[in-house]
Symmetry: C2
Subunit: 402 residues, 2 copies
Amino acid sequence: MYQQPIFEGRTIMTPGPVEAHPAVLRQMVQPILGQFDPEFLKIMNEVKEMIKVPFGTKNKQAFAIDGTSRSGLEAALLALIEPGDKVLIPAYGRFAYLLGEICQRAQAEIVWLEKDWESPFEQSVVIEAIKEHQPKIVAMVHGETANAQMQPLDQIGAFCRENDVFFVVDMVATYGGIELKVDDWKVDIAIAGTQKCVSVPSGMSLITYNDRVEKYIQPRYQKELGLGSDEQSERYVRSNYLDLTQLQRYWGPERINHHTEATSMVYALHEGLRLLLLEGMENVYARHTKNDRILTESLEKMGLEIFGARETKMGTVIPVRIPEGIDGEEVRALLLDQFKIEIASSFGSLKGKIWRVGNMGYSSRQTNVLHFLSAFETVLKKVGYEFDYGVGSTYALEEYLK
Amino acid sequence: MYQQPIFEGRTIMTPGPVEAHPAVLRQMVQPILGQFDPEFLKIMNEVKEMIKVPFGTKNKQAFAIDGTSRSGLEAALLALIEPGDKVLIPAYGRFAYLLGEICQRAQAEIVWLEKDWESPFEQSVVIEAIKEHQPKIVAMVHGETANAQMQPLDQIGAFCRENDVFFVVDMVATYGGIELKVDDWKVDIAIAGTQKCVSVPSGMSLITYNDRVEKYIQPRYQKELGLGSDEQSERYVRSNYLDLTQLQRYWGPERINHHTEATSMVYALHEGLRLLLLEGMENVYARHTKNDRILTESLEKMGLEIFGARETKMGTVIPVRIPEGIDGEEVRALLLDQFKIEIASSFGSLKGKIWRVGNMGYSSRQTNVLHFLSAFETVLKKVGYEFDYGVGSTYALEEYLK
């Protein structure tokens, strides 16, 4: 017979999933409400409004999709792509290739713009590529968790708007931890998740899009066959589950019966967003910035090298080069097995070359930073890395005591 | 500023979502584990095994998908369908049209076999249609929540197997409440959800498929572009998020980094399935059968008519004809607003004609049945329905006291 698992908590210092806020988890214990129960509709409506704040948008459309972050990426791209449409994907890290993966499976024609993973693109380079290739859509990642680099977006957004190109941006790794300006940067569709800086368990994707997108996708709406065949479109979206035109009508006043909402996750999301607003977004961003600075400086005091361009480093991940002769996976295993602390490895060409230390959401707090640094020093000493033992953790403690 | 909602519980007697088991909800408060944390992988592996039991299968492949029930339907159909493939869909209720909706958007050629919603198909009728149309896939609903009718599957399954046709069955409304025999009935892919008889919140889909399907979909696997381009297939599945070939490798020993698992939902699912096994599947089914009988008989004592063929009525839903002159929505509103009891309306041609009373999972229990019947009698009396007031609830109480 299977037993109820006994959970020993973890100090999660990865770039997601991170520790859910205890108050968020407690909301998941609340009793189920029917998805069209007026009490639940009120919660949904509040969630719609709160989602907009960390995105920095006044868009009419903002809601959650019942799937992990990438379900929102796929919904966004499926809504815009029709077979053969050209999508430009500038790639400076792993998750651009996920955008490409989704576009390819949606039968788009993809134009790749690739570079090393040390830094993001100069915006002018992307703009030149748009001029050259005349894509219908530009799809980019705002913050790349694989290498902790962050892409400036404002000029690209402005150029897309002027030239009637759709600008789709993956903000999964920055939403709720770094200030976003979806409206100012002229992003047409932005996508985020719950399991990073919102401190909510994984399982939902957050999306917002502007009137321009809404107007474009409107004629693609086709009523679900089970609800009637009176609203048809030859250009219907190639998915039922991830059809933005239906999801919009599920979250909106029409309340079509599209799926059975994941109510407990919506309770959690409501609380996660509410706690961000309660802390105040400026304070939230300042907290992440401070912890990023202290982590980064402490690791450097230990003689470790931070990967990639510093001026474009994302504040929610610290990518640390694994020193020569050290087995990165051994260090990770010792941290997890002996200290219950989790940090991440990386992807592709960076696999085995860097550790990724997360600085996200509820996990971005003083106690976590101090616990991690102390444990990390102990483990690094144990595996033979030569440094001034104690220098990182005591530096961090001094900084917090200031 | 937004407030934390204050939840007043509901007695949910709909065909889903139903009340989550309190022990299930409590598991959602457990701390987050990383998705590749050995402790979490153990939970995932146990979930895989437990999922098989209510399906009645020894299939190697069984796992959960991070999306509501229909995400599993779409994943199943996308894995089998290539554009232009012929799918036969026998429809005796609303959810067959969801299958058709998904197939249409997947570019399949659909052959419809339609009938009234009073009863399911004679199996011979479906078999004749298979002979005539020679489809690649037959997609059916086992239990239709819209009209509470249940389809016998064994002969259709046997014929499909003999003729190399894939048999895909939606078991969302019966899984965990009615005995299923996926292997004996020769169902190739079966799909269920969490929000009905498993007493877990909505948000996950459960799926199992046999070696035949696994062998068929194997050459369709294409590695996600972000993980490498060394495994390509011209027949790749037209979705990243709902690609069964990738999901299998996420839940299997390869542990590809496909998405960030919804860990808290997996904890809940583990507990929901564990509680079913602990109660014993035979006892679970007997409980549903008993409550279905008492509900049905009590409603009939009140002079109400049960919709549809009795011998094929599904035990997890009681479809009640709304008496002449009674406003069905007024009754539902009084139940919800005054008693915090929720029952459902229906779809399509049955909208406004029947109420649907659910008998599922944790909601299928004596106290719920008694509370519902007492309240229902009071409300029906209030709206002017003429019957022997008290006859239904006292009958039910007598039956439970036996």
